[in-house]
């Protein structure tokens, strides 16, 4: 993928054909959490767009320019014409770059998905910011809010240069992101969500910050179906702690149960905050994920 120039690819993360298809897709938030900045998202009544929304009684102090004089002529009472607002939505993309994402192409797939989401957001005239959080205690790498097609190159550069490594848990990464992020919209969190802490607090923080949560879990094949046997000393890639497991092949059933419980936990935490959750394998084909799975799940349209 580092041979973009030789193959005339715009980026090493996505091929041009996929980019072309992505440009026609838009993110589909459940709720429109927009900002006062004028944008393309209709945010309710009382806006200044040309789209009529409703009438209401005139109260002193209202701008007389919006009085519907035709109604006034017939009813001899002033009514205010209301127009919809079209505001901009802020899309924050958070990519987990801790050590756990190093395995089995997880970080690579996370970067690709983040870039794809960023492209669809930019093409939807949203303000896109990106955060890559690796080590705890260190400031995250940040791509400032950007919008427009012109920012696409910037987006690609940001994710292409992103590196993986560190021990930051996803809850700490969310907090680090929110310390820098401003604006309502949606937060696309791409991680493996393998954290011992509850996700209630970071998701609450996201929700209270006016961000709709799009949680995308990327797991490696070994994490989905560990084909381990015998007695092993498992070493945590992030903190180096170990666990001795005997006859590990006999624990596969229990492992699957706990993995599904974790996924259900993330899904529940997302949905209770009107968010979405999706878990994919790092080995799943990217085209299938972007143009089939995410569309079927209603993430993209």
């Amino acid at each position: 993928m580092n041979t973009a120039s030789s193959t005339n690819q715009l980026t090493t993360l996505l091929d041009n054909q996929a980019l072309t298809r992505l440009e026609r897709l838009r993110l589909q938030p459940n709720r429109r959490k927009t900002n006062r900045t004028q944008g393309e998202h209709a945010s309710g009544k009382g806006g200044s767009s040309t789209e009529f929304a409703d009438y209401r009684n005139y109260v002193p102090g209202d701008d007389v320019r919006f009085v519907d004089w035709n109604i006034f002529a017939r009813l001899n009472r002033p009514y205010m014409k209301l127009y919809q607002y079209e505001e901009v939505m802020h899309v924050a993309i958070l990519v987990d770059a801790s050590n756990s994402m190093k395995f089995e192409n997880k970080f690579e797939r996370a970067r690709q998905l983040a870039a794809a989401m960023g492209v669809t957001a930019l093409m939807g005239v949203e303000r896109v910011s990106a955060y890559v959080v690796g080590a705890s205690g260190e400031p995250p790498r940040v791509m400032p809010p950007s919008s427009g097609r012109a920012s696409m190159r910037r987006l690609f550069d940001f994710f292409e240069r992103a590196e993986c490594g560190g021990d930051a848990p996803i809850d700490g990464a969310v907090e680090a992101m929110l310390r820098r992020h401003r604006g309502r919209g949606m937060a696309i969190v791409i991680s493996d969500f393998l954290t011992p802490a509850s996700l209630a607090r970071p998701f609450n923080l996201l929700y209270s910050a006016g961000l709709e949560i799009f949680a995308l879990q990327v797991l490696g094949p070994t994490e989905i179906d560990p084909e381990l046997t015998g007695d092993l000393r498992l070493v945590d890639s992030e903190n180096g702690t170990t666990v001795d497991v005997s006859s590990i092949d006999e624990l596969h059933g229990i492992y699957h149960e706990h993995r599904e419980q974790l996924q259900e936990h993330v899904r529940r935490q997302s949905r209770t905050r009107n968010g979405r959750f999706l878990s994919i394998s790092s080995e799943a084909p990217l085209d299938w994920v972007l143009f089939d799975l995410l569309q079927r799940q209603g993430w993209l349209k």
Binding site: N99, S100, M101, K102, F103, E104, K106, D192, L194, T195, P196, G220, P221, T222, E223, P226, E227, L228, T229, G230, D231, L232, R233, L234, V235, D236, S237, E238, T241, T242, V243, D244, V245, S246, S247, E250, L251, I254, Y255, H258, R259, Q261, L262
Partner: protein, 647 residues
């Protein structure tokens, strides 16, 4: 009794090694390290209650359990467990080993002898019974204790090595009695008998089983380990000769009828030839074919001019299991007149003796002198009263033996004969009815017939008040006592008197071997009259020699003859006599086997066991193999590729 036991239970302290094994296992358990993205899921898996259930904890340390299995197997092997069989270990175990003639039989051509198989079996029994104490007893014609009770395997093995078959019939009763005697001073629960089951006087029941009845009470459990037998055999069971004519002189040829009895196997047809050799020259050869269980007597006629040695041999057409009974020996004596001493006062006797042509009566007028030893002495005095008068058979008239002086006395009076033993050799065909006897032997008060028997006398005729005729049998000597004087009775005037003399002559002729000669069976050589107080050396067929000394009576007796062959008796290196001994036992030659041994108490019947499962079976080899196999499994489990590395 438990079905299992341990020979070395003291090694149980090794079980303490389990503690350091478990400690070392958990301290030094080496697991392959495998880096994974996060332990979050595995932490929750391990903290799952199901994983931490006791059963799961048990299962997840398979390597530890394999190591424990190896250790336990090795410790148990060191404790030498065994499945308890018949004899039982840790006790006193007498093992009776049959070493009679039939034990030298082979059951398959070129195969081992029964004794060799018995030794193998006994070795197994010894191995199984150790560390219990074992006593080996050889049972031949008698019982011999080969070892004391010992758990020294070397002593037992040496005793077993030196054990050889003796060509004699087995005497199971003697063996059991010896075990019975041992049971009085040692605690004995079981006695094991290893034998082919060929015992004397087997009786067949209606259902075809052969029973050996032994008149012994068994204070222990008898385990009969019977060797499997399947031998075909033909053997000489009797070898006799009878002189055809009573008359004869030393310088004339004496005709003899020689009889050879051949017995075949009880279950097989046998055939062959019987050869008769006289002084090394073949004088007869007869073919013989025997149906199963059949016996035949072959008759040969020959003449001798002096002492002649006969040898009968069987040449079998096919397989013959027992070779020792294929040869028998017989020595035909030189023909001569009987030498009879008859007191001159006993005119009636001297008169009666005149009618026998081959009898020389002394004292006579012959100036050539008198012999030192007579065949028959008819005298009025006892041996003690006339010690210089030596005779094989003595007929004492009107005198009471000195050793019976306290039991019987003689007084004057009429003493009719109440009863007499009509089957005795001396009184057969002698009618003692209505004989008047002027002397009346009277037994003492409280004297019973048993007192005479205890003194070694047999009562042949009884009067009203006491015994009239007594007989005493000793090796090489016979004596008959008429406690009344015949001259003071009507006996010399009766027909029975010459018959009595004739019977005495016949007894004498048989005792001198002049009328009939029987083959010498093994066991003990027949007493032989030789020089007095002289030392003789007897060389056995296996070249072993023994020294014996004759007593004042000149009798050489008690010479053991355990093997078939020629025994040479020599004095100072010069051979004085030669005796051939053969098995001559129908029971041994039949090779029949008892199915049951029935002691005096019939409820304690012992059936033969030919199976090998009754011995204690050591389990340590099995445990050692289990340990080895588990070790291989553990090694494979430890070394196998456990992981699929990724990341």
């Amino acid at each position: 009794m438990s079905w299992t036991g341990f020979l070395s239970p003291s090694w149980a302290w090794l079980f303490l090694l389990i503690i350091p094994l478990v400690i070392v296992y958990f301290l030094k358990l080496k697991r392959p390290r495998f880096e994974i993205p996060s332990l979050v899921l595995w932490h929750s898996v391990i903290n799952d209650q199901r994983v931490n259930s006791p059963f799961q904890r048990f299962r997840k340390h398979l390597l530890l359990w394999l190591q424990l299995a190896i250790l336990l197997s090795l410790i148990l092997a060191a404790m030498q467990p065994f499945l308890r069989g018949g004899p039982g270990s840790g006790n006193n175990l007498p093992i009776l080993v049959d070493c009679s003639a039939s034990m030298s039989a082979i059951d398959t051509r070129g195969g081992p002898t029964r004794m060799e198989r018995a030794k193998e079996r006994i070795t197994e029994l010894i191995d199984a019974a150790l560390p219990g104490r074992i006593c080996l007893i050889a049972v031949g014609a008698g019982a011999r204790q080969l070892t004391e009770f010992t758990n020294n395997k070397r002593i037992l093995a040496e005793a077993l090595d030196t054990l050889t078959v003796r060509d004699v019939p087995g005497n199971l009763v003697d063996g059991l009695r010896m075990a019975q005697a041992l049971a009085r001073r040692e605690t004995i629960g079981t006695v094991t008998l290893v034998s082919d089951g060929n015992f004397p006087d087997l009786q067949e029941t209606a259902d075809g089983q052969k029973i050996a009845r032994v008149d012994v009470e068994l204070p222990f459990k008898l385990q009969f380990e019977q060797l499997e037998t399947d031998a075909v055999n033909m053997g000489i069971t009797a070898f006799n000769a009878r002189r055809q004519s009573a008359a004869g002189a030393a310088n004339r040829l004496t005709p003899w009828d020689v009889f050879v009895r051949i017995n075949g196997s009880p279950n097989d047809v046998t055939s062959g030839e019987v050869l008769l050799e006289q002084d090394g020259q073949e004088v007869g050869r007869q073919p013989i074919a025997l149906e199963a269980g059949q016996s035949k007597r072959l008759v040969y006629s020959l003449q001798t001019s002096g002492v002649s040695r006969l040898t009968a041999r069987i040449v079998s057409d096919g397989f013959d299991g027992l070779s020792s009974d294929n040869t028998a020996y017989l020595e035909l004596p030189v023909s001569r007149s009987l030498l009879v001493w008859c007191d001159t006062d006993l005119q009636s006797y001297r008169h009666a003796l005149q009618v026998f042509p081959d009898v020389t009566v002394y004292p006579n007028d012959d100036a050539s002198g008198q012999p030192d030893v007579y065949d028959l002495a008819i005298t009025e005095t006892t041996k003690k009263a006339n010690p210089n008068l030596e005779a094989s058979v003595r007929l004492v008239i009107g005198a009471i033996p000195e050793d019976l002086a306290q039991l019987v006395t003689t007084r004057s009076g009429n003493s009719p004969v109440v009863d007499w033993n009509r089957s005795s050799l001396l009184l057969q065909h002698v009618n003692l009815d209505s004989i008047e006897i002027a002397d009346e032997p009277v037994r003492g008060d409280d004297v019973l017939d048993q007192n005479f028997r205890e003194a070694g006398y047999e009562i042949l005729a009884t009067g009203r008040s006491g015994p009239l005729v007594l007989a005493r049998h000793a090796p090489g000597r016979q004596a008959f006592y008429l406690l009344f004087h015949t001259d003071r009775s009507t006996l010399p005037y009766r027909v029975g008197f010459p018959v009595l003399i004739k019977n005495a002559i016949d007894i004498t002729r048989h005792a001198a071997g002049l009328a009939e000669v029987r083959g010498q069976p093994t066991r003990v050589l027949a007493p032989r009259l030789l020089d007095r107080n002289t030392t003789y050396t007897v060389a056995a067929p296996d070249s072993s020699t023994q020294t014996f000394r004759t007593g004042p009576d000149g009798l050489l007796s008690g010479v053991p003859a355990p093997r078939v062959g020629i025994y040479r008796i020599s004095e100072d290196g010069s051979e004085v006599a030669r005796v051939g001994a053969g098995v001559l036992d129908a029971g041994e030659s039949s090779l029949a086997s008892a199915d049951l041994i029935e002691p005096r108490d019939e409820e304690l019947r012992v059936s033969a066991s030919t199976t090998q499962i009754d011995t204690d079976r050591p389990l340590w080899p099995t445990l050692a193999w289990i340990a080895f196999i588990v070790l291989l499994v553990e090694w494979w489990y430890f070394q196998r590729k456990t992981i699929r590395v990724s990341g």
